[in-house]
Amino acid sequence: MNEKKYHYEIESFLEPIFPDFLNDRKTDLEEEEQAVNKKDFKTLSLLGHKLAGNAGSYGLPELGDLGKELESSAHDENYDRCKEIHLQIKEFLENLTVDFI
């Protein structure tokens, strides 16, 4: 795995609220895992929509793109793709490192 793939430079004004953002993502990731197991496409779509809207604003556009893909795959009820994207989001968050600049 290329560690640099998940390294981001984030604007320093976001530093005080970044830990809360990551905590929210952790909570959503758990909900996402349950939704994948239950094939709950409505919840997956909502979680994808939320991630698409917030991650880019926090300086993580690639994570936002994954949210967008999750939303559209859930809309198509494509279980395999939803599961795959969920794992990609998990990998992204587990390996994310940031520098505040």
Binding site: F13, L14, P16, I17, D20, F21, D24, R25, L46, H49, K50, A52, G53, N54, A55, G56, S57, Y58, P61, G64
Partner: protein, 235 residues
């Protein structure tokens, strides 16, 4: 300090906006994280700006704005943020009084610039007064007053009466056609009947009786104008 209400179900997003606004634009920011809480806070408290998400846990932000618009004046006070902004939504929103649509993910610099512009407009409109002899309109608050015996009396006009008086005051004694006055109803894109215009004019005349100095004259077959009664002194 200006007050802003963010109606947004995504806590990460609302935290980001609140953090930015409070630090950079010197505003006091409240957050409602669902549709019902947002509606209740928006109706019961006077905010200077509302930031509304279109998708509130499956409830529609546009529906919330519709209810809000029926209860208070929201022109240039609502900014909509959404990941999906269609042309139809924008037309509906702008007709309701939405000031701007901002796409998610948001560019924070752009959002802050839009908010500053809206707050500046609010500052200007709050202080703008239109007058004709002893009649005064506070354009920001959409309130009409008559100065009688050195006392400022509020005229308590309906929204349509206010808009009609605004057009008449703006014309400063010149005739305003019935046709132009017919576009002063709830839906400004749709004309009301001339009969309705006449009814509103009649109600407005009664409310203006308090001032005795300016009254509404009819120009037969054309429209109406404000006339200054020279026999009375301006208070």
């Amino acid at each position: 300090m200006r007050r802003v209400l963010i109606i947004e179900d995504d806590k990460s997003f609302s935290r980001l906006i609140k953090h930015n606004l409070e630090n950079d634009i010197n505003t006091d920011v409240d957050v409602a994280d669902n549709y019902l809480k947002g509606l209740s806070m928006a109706i019961n408290t006077d905010y200077d700006l509302y930031l509304v998400d279109l998708n509130l846990d499956g409830e529609s932000g546009i529906d919330l704005i519709k209810i809000l618009a029926k209860n208070k004046k929201i022109d240039n006070k609502v900014i909509v943020v959404s990941a999906v902004i269609t042309k139809e939504l924008q037309i509906e929103g702008y007709n309701l009084g939405v000031s701007n649509f901002v796409s998610k993910p948001v560019d924070l610099d752009l959002l802050k610039a839009i908010m500053r512009k809206n707050l500046r407009m609010l500052d200007n409109s709050h202080s703008e007064i239109l007058s004709f002899y002893n009649l005064y309109l506070n354009l920001g608050e959409r309130r009409a007053y008559a100065k009688v015996d050195e006392q400022k009396e509020e005229l308590n006009l309906s929204p349509t009466e206010y808009t009609i008086l605004f057009k008449l005051l703006n014309a400063r004694g010149n005739v305003v056609s019935k046709e132009e006055l017919s576009y002063t109803g709830k839906d400004e894109n749709k004309a009301m009947s001339f009969k309705s215009v006449e009814m509103h004019i009649s109600a407005l005349r009664k409310k203006l009786e308090i001032n005795k100095i300016v009254h509404i004259e009819s120009k037969w077959g054309v429209g109406y104008y404000l006339k200054y009664n020279q026999n009375k002194q301006v208070a």
